[in-house]
Symmetry: C2
Subunit: 329 residues, 2 copies
């Protein structure tokens, strides 16, 4: 029925997305163990942490030490996130990590001000400076991120044209330099996306640069994460950011909202892909083990589903014990 | 793109699905309050409880008292679940409730034995007896349920042919009596469904009786609930069982699995429908209030998402306060 891709790639961001929002800083040894477990699952890319202001995000203050201590699986790209000059310089000092240079577009002033203390227009203008900077430094620009690509809690609804304008700007920068267009990422930073709007916006971005891969950074804030991924797969999207165990989200907002605005859950979405016959290169059973390690570290039930129910593998092989709880119907 | 229905109907089952699996019995007054709140949301049908063996399911022992105490909104159909003669007789004694007479098909002996202490074939044969019984009693048969329509933890994979065979049997009973075919429900009792298999099986069942409505009873056991609903909507399915706040699931199974195999979450799926432009007749904001009441009663965070993040209404109207926690990207 749909034109699903043969293979998709998940970029694991749980250790950053999950641990940066916890009120406490977990022992580094636990994060090392989790990252090492994730490295053995077949994940192609794993984000280790962010290089941001340690006064604002103290949970990420030891990101460079963390990066140094993990086992480096040569099959995995390890990435770091930064937002400014200082973070970039730290990242450059770490072998491998600065090859994850992104361009980042903000669509609402409110969110740009909050994350970067500058307007969306100022942030946009800076992207050309960043691009040339990266090129001069020999860094590979691996993605263009457009934030709040469906809407913004701070700035309200975001139109399709606002999204395509940002991508046009980015694409123009690469074309003017006769560079290939890197993967184009739409980020649903605050959980506004719904499946038909995923299709519509992915389709519109693809028209701008049919040769580019498209990626999504989705949050399961309002329960549509899985439906959005399914819609994106039907549009041929092959790159997804995700968080093991559904890590991430906000421990402070709203009605007992702890962790409910987390990223899409890596192992649940890997399960979805496998059920659709789409390859991921990931050993789901190993990833489930890693998600359970994440839950043991965090110390409360996390939002992932397959990590609690188990995959269907053992049931299909007739090896599962009675799963205990079932009810009519 | 897809041929979505104009309107769908949700059947709320949280008070049965959710409370029957808790290790304690909650005070009836709390369940009355929750049912009364749900009655004011625009839900067309609400299941009050089940009439089953109180030794096996003590949490449902006071279902008839509960039924008697709730305010009856004349716009709502209130239903009771039963599995045997004794339950049926109790249901008959309650005005209105016995018009929810279902036929129930089991596809694996293991699950049939567990729920009913009889084989799947014996259960199938009994359905004709039940149908004639219902007709003689003047009860309306409102649905045909086929359990474990994608697979069974106890009995393993279930083929498409096994599913269509069961529906053929049911459809034959109605056609032989020149009766209209009631809604045909596929139940994913244990969370084996995936979106393409939803499309495939819904399509196959529709071919058997194009004039019948199709309904789904889905569990979000493995994180695909929303994607499965979206797939079903694209096939024109208009009837969904669901549980407010994602109530339901198993407090005992697996790795800290409490509540993780719950039903699809009513308010999250109502939100999905509204985002797709599909009417539900439900006031989402009122339903979110009811879901928060459910969480307050149960006393621990429940699995619903919109109940924690809020809908997009206030954000779209520019009335929302800063949502506090957002992060890059």
């Amino acid at each position: 029925m749909s034109d699903f891709p043969k293979k998709v790639e998940f970029h694991e961001e749980g250790v950053r997305e999950g641990f940066q929002i916890e009120p406490v800083t977990y022992p580094r040894a636990q994060r090392v163990a989790l990252l090492d477990a994730l490295s053995e699952t077949g994940l192609a890319q794993i984000q280790v942490g962010s290089l941001v202001n340690p006064r604002k995000v103290p949970q990420m203050a030891d990101t460079l030490e963390l990066f140094a201590e993990i086992k480096k699986n040569p099959k995995v790209r390890y990435t770091l996130l930064w937002l400014n000059e200082s973070g970039y310089q730290k990242s450059r000092a770490v072998q491998g990590a600065f090859n994850h240079a992104p361009l980042m577009y903000y669509l609402t002033d409110a969110f740009a001000m909050r994350n970067n203390n500058r307007t969306a227009a100022d942030m946009r203008a800076e992207q050309e400076v960043w691009l040339d900077r990266y090129l001069a430094d020999g860094a590979m620009v691996q993605k263009v991120y457009v934030m709040t690509a469906w809407g913004c809690n701070l700035g309200g609804p975001v139109s399709l044209e606002t999204v395509t304008d940002a991508f046009k700007h980015a694409i123009g920068l690469f074309r003017a330099r006769k560079l290939p267009i890197p993967p184009l990422y739409l980020a649903d930073t605050m959980g506004w996306a719904s499946p038909e709007e995923v299709k519509r916006r992915v389709g519109a971005v693809r028209e701008l640069a049919p040769e580019a891969r498209i990626g999504l950074h989705l949050h399961d804030t309002r329960g549509l994460g899985g439906a959005n991924v399914y819609a994106a797969l039907s549009m041929g999207v092959t790159l997804f950011d995700a968080s093991v165990a559904g890590l991430g989200g906000c421990p402070f907002a709203g009605h007992k909202a702890r962790q409910t605005s987390g990223n899409i859950c890596t192992e649940d979405m890997v399960f979805l892909c496998h059920e659709l016959g789409i390859e991921t290169g990931i050993d789901l059973e190993k990833l489930i083990e890693a998600s359970r390690m994440a839950e043991d570290i965090i110390g409360r039930p996390l939002m992932g589903r397959v990590m609690h129910s188990g995959s269907l593998k053992a049931f299909r092989e007739g090896k599962a014990a009675d799963s205990a709880c079932v009810s009519v119907p």
